[in-house]
Symmetry: C3
């Protein structure tokens, strides 16, 4: 930790703080565009210096096009007596997201095709969207759906679909090198607590923690709408993707389920080994599949990024998924805090999982005279001496410390410490470490470095 880093707080948020922040995000009616996303990013920017990007409607994004911006003022279904029997003001899930403006009266049997409910969970409102086909509809509790009497109903959707922009936020925490770790979370869902106020809260706290210390890698956090948002980010950052060494999609991090890591498309990237190591005994690993969150785009064959995904329960894997039952009582401070800790641990392993070259590779170097090895021979070496022998033997530039941990059966932290001592003794040199960003140089040089890092360098004040 350098002097500057020491000036900022590196304490992680507590579970209660995470839950409070999720609670502030929860009521906002987000969608893939519109004011809901802007208000959410504003809450996050109050804590971390997010750069907010606006990309105009109609912009081509690979096979897609950014749609018209959608905003919603009010929506309801009113019965003959003028009572709001379905009311957007009561819960923003009541309206199918991206519903076009409607002012109409129609009989119940005609309205029925527009009403979505869950017979198997009569008290839950489902979540539905219609982003790319102009449409409208309402979601409601099955119990209330059954109570609707035949007759004519007034439908009022005071929404707008108009040229505007897609909004996303981005934060670059510059490291000692320009090699990047990409962290992605989606911000497009309305009042669903786990999916994804949990991810936004954890990613925001993680950004604060990351800014507390200058690290080996540059960290880039993206808060964007799912699918079209990540595609837009990919389109605008295509030339920088070659710097991405690891990527992690974060979301669904507050439910009481165990942590789940979903492997990258290749399943053998370093991030896969790292997450597997960190979750050992504390979570489950699931194979890659092309359905889910933004790993779908990051792992498409044209990008094929080393991107895994961290959630607790998986999407679709719990009954509350995409219903009003995914509310603030469904996510817990303990789960949020555990998720944040897992992210931090993954990053710590990413940082320390280096490959080295033994600088004295012919035979063993003489550790005893360097004070690294017990002087009195005859009895066996201690565990930390074994760790040094393993690191020296395996450090031919191809094995990471995690590889060595797996082969030797020794604890990873012991090997990190052994490597640190050996590097200090100049017996070890990191392999293929990318060119460092000039540091300590004021003015022009540092600004250039920041530009090269492809984003703004962040220094946080203690929040």
């Amino acid at each position: 930790m350098d002097v500057k880093a020491a000036r900022v707080s590196s304490a992680a948020a507590t579970g209660d703080q995470l839950h409070q922040f999720a609670s502030r995000l929860y009521p906002i009616c987000r969608s893939i565009t519109g004011e809901g996303v802007r208000r959410s990013l504003a809450l996050i920017r109050a804590r971390i210096p997010l750069v907010v990007h606006e990309v105009p409607s109609g912009t081509r994004v690979f096979d897609w096009q950014i749609p018209l911006e959608w905003n919603i003022e009010d929506a309801a279904v009113l019965d003959g007596d003028g009572r709001r029997v379905v009311d957007f003001q009561a819960h923003n899930l009541h309206l199918v997201s991206y519903s076009e403006p409607v002012q109409r009266t129609l009989p119940l049997d005609e309205l029925s095709a527009r009403l979505h409910a869950l017979p198997e969970h009569p008290d839950w409102i489902p979540y539905r969207t219609s982003y790319y086909r102009r449409d409208w509809g309402f979601c409601m509790r099955a119990r209330e759906r059954l109570a609707l009497r035949p007759g004519r109903y007034r439908v009022e959707v005071k929404s707008s679909l108009a040229p505007g922009a897609l909004t996303y936020g981005e934060l670059v925490v510059a490291g000692r090198t320009r090699e990047e770790v990409l962290l992605f979370t989606h911000v497009c869902h309305p009042s669903l607590a786990n999916d994804n106020t949990s991810g936004m809260a954890v990613a925001t706290a993680l950004a604060e923690w990351l800014a507390g210390e200058r690290r080996r890698f540059t960290y880039r956090l993206v808060f964007a709408p799912g699918t079209i948002g990540s595609l837009t980010w990919l389109k605008r950052n295509e030339h920088g993707l070659k710097r991405v060494r690891h990527a992690l999609v974060l979301g669904l991090l507050g439910d009481p389920g165990a942590l789940t890591y979903k492997r990258s498309r290749r399943e053998t990237h370093e991030i896969d080994a790292i997450a597997t190591h960190v979750l050992a005994g504390a979570g489950q690993i699931v194979p890659f599949s092309p359905y889910g969150y933004d790993e779908r785009q990051l792992c498409s064959p044209g990008f094929d990024l080393p991107a895994g995904r961290l959630t607790r329960s998986v999407n679709g894997g719990y009954p509350q998924y995409h219903t009003s039952a995914d509310d603030l009582s469904f996510i817990t401070p303990a789960a949020l805090e555990g998720s944040l800790a897992a992210c931090q641990r993954i990053i710590e392993v990413i940082e320390s999982n280096q490959r080295f070259h033994n600088r004295s590779p012919r035979g063993e170097p003489q550790l005893g005279t360097r004070g690294l090895y017990g002087a009195l021979g005859g009895s066996g070496p201690a565990e930390h001496e074994h760790a040094m022998l393993w690191v020296l033997n395996q450090s031919d530039g191809t094995h990471s410390l995690l590889d060595i941990a797996q082969r030797s059966g020794l604890p990873f932290p012991l090997l990190v410490e052994a490597a640190r001592r050996l590097e200090e003794a100049q017996l070890l040199a990191p392999t293929g470490e990318p060119a460092r960003i000039a540091s300590g140089a004021p003015g022009a040089k540092r600004a250039a470095a920041r530009r090269r890092a492809g984003g703004r360098t962040v220094r946080l004040n203690k929040s």
Copy 2:
């Protein structure tokens, strides 16, 4: 299925039809050369337009030489009373194949060394040959062997060993490409029903079925004597072997045992994965070994073709093997029909197991606007939508649809259908599909294409 193909029958033969054809082939006394092979090929040519090749005795074939042609008129061992105690007319297995002409009288103790029997199966006649060492001998039931009284016996073998030819048949069913699938069956055994009238019957019916529809691959069926016949074919077709993408040796397909696929020499060719897929739950897979039928030659290190073998019970794996008990009662219509169906299924998978390139590989293409994906979001995709996502994600030119089936756990036909729809939507292009044979062009162009296909193009009339 194109217009021409629609004009011919693509119905597979029934089990009864297969058994009837095997019954017509059964009585013929075949060997590695001679009239028996010619008569068998003539029966086959009455159904499919086989091209029959004759290669002269004495021709060098790699390390071998085509032997003198052997023909047999009659053979018997007669006792002192002139009774035919061993009679070739009664069963053609009684004579050691390729026995030289003999007219001799000799005592039983001298004759004994020439008499082969199976003490463990006293009522069965064994099958023996002496192709490459001039010799003669008789095979008989052990029970009858024991009944022979001491005394002098007259041996009469009215055979001829004279310059002639080795005969084999070949049929090329031209496909849309010049890439070939090679199908091999042996025609050298005398009255052994499973080994190999079953293989000849199944291969003939398969040829009829293949000719019913123009396919992606060109199919080449070879009906040849074992070992020297396949070596002769290899010698004469050495320059075309580079076009062989898959090869399958067929034989022993009528016994009541389960289907058995024997892997290729490398054990990891695509044909191995395909046959394993097709036989899953319905047959067994056995490793490669250098003993068996013509896979011995196809998989020799100098050719190393992607050749597997399909049988029911394996050679040597049932007591009736190479005895008179391998008769028409040993093979069943149901077994023959099941074998033909397995061959057809293997060919269908060969045909459809393509590799593709995703033509919109950066991110997912927008399936919804193409009518390929449900428009209303929020609930999970259907299985056929999952299949499209898997095909798009994995189609980087390296994974076949079967690879994708294995990774995703989705049914292969669902993935074939997904690929078809995606190709139709121009989102997918086949990878490394070889140059197509010009089609639809009459006259010279088509003839050239046929010549390039290395054989005669076949159009069958409905049989």
Copy 3:
């Protein structure tokens, strides 16, 4: 076996002979330098024509330096009555190896830190060293340590630490090729029977046996002190290491434990497969680790030699390890003889585990006309015929006979015999066999060949 080889004895030593030789080596006080090593090598040289090398103190050896030579005349701790309460003359383990000269009187409480004992084994003297930090100390039975009364003690260590040399012995048994098999054993331990008079005795007998027959490989045996000795040898032979095809560290070969093979650093070298094959059912295989004997140096990343290690119990794996309980009663004639037999068997497999090219690779060659295959067809081939088919099929230059044994399930000796017969029939040629040393040529040519072999060619008289 050529004529010359037939003139010398190839009989292996019996267990009793091995134990007797170990008994002669046992009393000598060896260390990493000094007269103890020289006297031990002299005993060995009386049996095999070892070349003894002396490398001066102070010589740089990679990261190390050859220390001052240590010699010891006498050492004791005397009580107030002049009694030798710790006496080097009684057991050479009593003195910490490389103790500097001392003449001092000091109270027990000050002496205590210099006294090493094993409370858990009160009757055993531990073995301790201090090679690279000037120090002194005594090792004693815990029972006697407890009996020491408070008071002043006289310490006398009549040792010398002076410029001299490190001594090691080397023997080259020239083979038909210059490719080498390296055999290493350590000679630096004082009166420890298993560690390593057992290794010295087995390696000496092995050298006698090796010299009895001219083999395919050149064998190089090194008798050197551990660590600094092997480093010194590596430094002086660095340019010849490219010729090392297999290496084996030998030691701890007399205890009653089962044989243990420790794999090389890569774990997939041919020596690993060979030792695993030889020890199947008769010993255990353990993974590589960077702690142990001279495999630490041979397998350091800068050399990464194909070096395994053969012991019985592993170092540190038995309570007597590095104590006075590792005495001549701990090692048995039967264990020593079994170890020698295992070494011989490993060498036999090294010699015979060739890779071949099938010289008739297109199809099977005609074995019958060469008398290699039964002439009468129809029944299955015998096991030795199967072996020939397997060897022919797999001999494309990439598969060794051991690979073929593993794939086919056939016994290795059967495949060796099949290969021999096929080579005799000119159907097989060895692959990549290195240039042979000119043989049979007298004078200059042979001398040149000897020089190229990088050592002295050995011809032993019958011992």
